[in-house]
Amino acid sequence: MKDREVLERVSKGDEKALEYLYKKHYRMMTRIVLNNNGSEDEAKDIYQEALLAFWQKAIGGNLVLTSKISTYLYSVCLNLWRKELDRKGKFAENDKEEYTFQEFEKKERVRIIHECIHELGDNCRKILTYHYFDGLSMTDIAKKLNLANTDTAKTKKYKCKKKLDLLIKRKYSSSDFLD
């Protein structure tokens, strides 16, 4: 599969094309991290992050490729790993206990939100995640989820978001996250 075809499919939210890309460049991309004091897990995580950044940009129509996809991914992986190394260095200098507490609180909130997203129905979950993470337009979401039209997708998205909001607020109140 050529780069142009891959990009075309990815920009339409084709997850099979994403898998193809992941498989194709896995060795080359993970080697960047592995050769720079990174572990296998870190290498895989960095590569996945880079690939998802490419995914979001491609779907959002914000990607203008002036080089091969592999070159683009390579530079993203390199930048992400540099940031990670920088973060690791700063983390070592900071007060560990304070950081751990902040992380704990944040993680709790994220855990509750994830719980609530999981409680949503499959369609709601897809509409919201496709919209907020993938950046798919309401028209594309309607097509992808076989909804009647764009307006149906918009209404569904509004209702799903409201439902999620209520679920989260309820759980926050019981966990004393809200004053």
Binding site: E19, Y22, L52, W55, T129, F133, D134
Partner: protein, 295 residues
Amino acid sequence: MSIQSEYTRLVNKYLDSNMSGSEKFIFEEQLTSDPLLKAEFDHQNEIINGLKEYRKTQLKTRLDNVTINPGILGVISQSATVKTLSYVVTSILVGTGSYMYFAGEEVVHVNLPAIESKLEFVNPETSPSPFGRQLDYRYTKTINPSPWIDLAEERPIVETLKEEANTIDFNVPEVKDDVAGDVIPEPDQILEKVITQNVPFTEAVKIDKVDIENVVTNRYKFHYKLDNNKLYLYGKFEASPYEIIEINSFQAKKLFFYYNGQYYRLYQDINDISPLIKIQDQKVITELNIIKSKG
């Protein structure tokens, strides 16, 4: 509609980028001054980030389930044949290493006597030669003023050679007999060395005729000089039979002078008139007597 609901609607409109320029400006101003609006904004942001994280985790899980084909090296390293081969090679390496390690010590140990036996020819002072016997001697470190025979440990050469044949040859360099350090060997010792090397006398020795001239002078009493195969004897020599014994070994030619029942060593490379020094070593004398009787 409650204030809370109104705030939620406004925040969602802003986050979905559905506000006009002026609406956006007013909202951002209000956000800095209204804590309730700010709290709702943070909450909605948190939900959106949660949704993003959720989706990211979902996609990452999907990617984790993708089977990555190992590279060519990975395929090779996972094949059963290569694994078996690697085990065999490792076993051979370990075995060879162990053999070299343990056998190395043994070889050195066995060859030490051989090295010693070769070194014993280095110093003429410390390598006495029992005349006419095939024996070698090991030099002991203690400098003992007692006769050389007390310092020696008798050990047949034949046995040593057998031992060497059973060991790996280390190519121990032979030490030349004439390398004797700073010690200038005595004439008798030089002869001893020649005999120690078991030179077959029947081949190496011959008695040659050398012209002899007696120079009567008061200046020298019992001296000699060798010049162009002619022996000049300085002093009062009786008209008794003279005899010159020449020993040709593979290294050098040695001359001995027999006069009046005594043997003297003659040096050809000395240009000056030198005194005749009597050979006192009984074994050398015995050997010279044998040669003389054969000649």
